[in-house]
Amino acid sequence: MLTLVPSFTMNANDDQHQSDAHHEEATHHENNEHDHEALPHSEEEGYNDGVNSKEEVAEYIQHHLGDTHDFIFFSDEAAGHHYGFPLPIILVDNGLKVFMSSEFHHGDKVVKKGDTHYRLYHGKIYKTDAEGTIQYDEHHHPTNAKPLDLSITKNVFSILVISIIMLLLFRSLAKGYKNGPIPTGFARVLEPLVIFVRDEIARPNIGEKKYRKFMGFLLTVFFFIWITNLLGLTPLGINVTGNIAVTICLALFTFIIVQFSGNKDYWKHIFWMPGVPVPMKIVLAPIEVLGMFTKPFSLLIRLFANITAGHTVVMGILAVIYIGKETLGTGGSIGVSLFLTLFINVIELLVAFLQAYIFTMLSSLFIGMAVEEHDHH
């Protein structure tokens, strides 16, 4: 996250020295985004640097939290340089169209594939005409048609990398057992975590007899979320678990596994609750059905909100360096910001583990409820 500092610096310099020239630089990505909100804020931007700076910070955080089609470590806003690498774009629109995201020039250029023009706008790809016109509705949302976008975005790329890291890490742990029952080196760190998931999460919640079947999912989800959260705290600036599509997908896995492993008792408890009077059974059924969906929903919202909030707070406090410069002085704002960021980052380290733990814990709890053997009295 610290490498974001240079790009903020660029922004701040930009604001202080070139605020008038700001609008003319409509050629690069950040400012393209400004087009979108240019109308309501243009008056303020004209004479108020502070608000302009705050707007940019908000914009930057939004940009960071979202998914992108290229992997950018930091950018020089003034010169319009972006340091990173492009990722492949895969569009399904009258056939498969594959090209590198560099062709968009970070949203500056319209790409023509076949006889359709595409434009990258606010992190999304729209069909457009040769000039790249974007139509808006009354809420200022683009109304252009979108192709089915199956691109390898920054998040997809990160997930692939994390998957490979996980495979390598745990493959080495698995191989280590061939040389003897006691792991050596880094595997010593991983083994207690695997045992932790097994003994503290899966076994007590699912039960001794059935836990083995779900270990693959639980361990994978635990380490996936944890490693992803941790990498989200690094200066790589990825935000995978803070993306709603990712958390929806993870929660959907839990949902499907719970429903498919549910035994007769589980369904009976949903639709015809035993041990209560018939009218209550009828009242309880819809509530229980709703409960089926709220459980994974709470999972996906919890993970998404925690990670998004963490990233937003860390970046917001980092931005204090530039926004609080006038009131605190340069040294003061840097000091306050770095102290607070360090503080929040340490908390985020805890949150990273806690969220992985809670997600896995609740998943195994739900699975445990679905496979539980009730002894009826």
Partner: protein, 166 residues
Amino acid sequence: MDKLINDFSFGLFVWVSIIFVVLIILMRKFAWKPILEALNSREEGISNALKAAENAKKELEALNADNERILKEARAERDVMLKEAREIKEKIVSEAKGEANAEAEAIITNAKAAIELEKQAALTELKTQVAGISIDIAKKIIKSELASEESQLALVEKSLNEVILN
């Protein structure tokens, strides 16, 4: 909420689903299964080893108890043997003493008898010698006293006198 829905990217969702399914399958096959099996077998090994140690301890205790018992028995046996030996010794000693006394008695008795015999023999011899000597003396006296006629007549006289007196 509107923003959240707008942020939802279908492409990302599809990719995450695919990658995650593949990841779970691969991790299960290549990582979790061998790891969990290794952990289980290790834990079983540990619990078996602990049980074996417990058993060994019990066996050792039993062995110790056995040893103790054997030792006790051996000690008792030794005591009995010592006692018996002592008794035998005393018996032998007393028997020997008895025999020795008896023999000494016999020897003394024999010796006394022999001494008596010798004494008797000596006495007899002494008696015969004394008798001989007495006879010789008597012979000599008689010879000398009856050498003359008068003395012979005197003796006859005397003897006659004595006979009358009787």
